[in-house]
Amino acid sequence: MPNVGIVIVSHSPKIAEGAADMVRQMVGDSVPLAWSGGDSAGGLGTSVAAVRQAIEDAWSEGGVAILVDLGGAETNSEMAIELLDAGRRDRVVVCNAPIVEGAVIAAAEASGGSPLDVVCRVAEELSPR
């Protein structure tokens, strides 16, 4: 099974891109990676269509783990997942983890070939209980 893909969704394009840079430094090209940040008008926010595109860009048959920052990033990501083809929907999850640390540790885990549930769980261990 190919390595799990990682998608980073922030209200801020700078944060999303910066977190993706940190992931890339850590795992190189071994993990499919995409980011989405900012609303459709270029302001702070998130866009369902852009998140969906990012999922397609980072698509892996092993699935995709999404790291988000705040509320709207999460709800828009969940909405984007529902818009995917039926065969893909069940292989994309939003991880409940801090966006930067979560993305880096999830990508490190994914680069070792771990399956989607493990990638997500390792990232979620960073969240306060």
Binding site: D39, S40, G45, T46, S47, V48, G72, T75, M79
Partner: protein, 198 residues
Amino acid sequence: MTPERLERLIVTVADAVIAHEHELTVLDQAIGDGDHGLNMRRGFEAVRNEARDLACKPVADALNGIGSRLVMTIGGASGPLYGTMFIALGKALSPDASNLAEALACAVGAVMARGKSQPGQKTMLDVLAPVQAAVAAGGEELVQTLPVIARDAALATAPVRAVRGRASFLGDRSIGHVDPGAMSAALIVTTICGAWET
């Protein structure tokens, strides 16, 4: 409902949301990120631009179309929340709209699932739930009573401590402010009722 009447209704609701951008923004600046007015305006401008096409469809498809446009254009958490509400309403509503109360219950349930929230947590649900309950209870004067119920419910979010959304980061400091999502929900309900007979 005729296409002409549905188009007028869509345009009237969109215009009301657009006209209240500033009010929603001020509320959101107090306890959120200050983008609710702008986001709602952007969403409802997109709906308004397509009001004629939307109004030519069966009501269920029109509601689905409104929801989809809001999801794609609002850009904040309210996009999926309002979008889900309209899409779920369209899915559940019978062609003659005789099951409105039941369909509204489905829509409220869908918003609860989307936002992982319950009524009483200082959100739009604090308006939607009592409005749905009032529709379910029925009565002759709903277009007069619903706006009062909706507005009172929105204002009643002020003393509540937010536990969902960005306002929850403020903890006790969210107390004393009306929730912007509750206010926009009340605005939509009030406008629909006001335009209903015309």
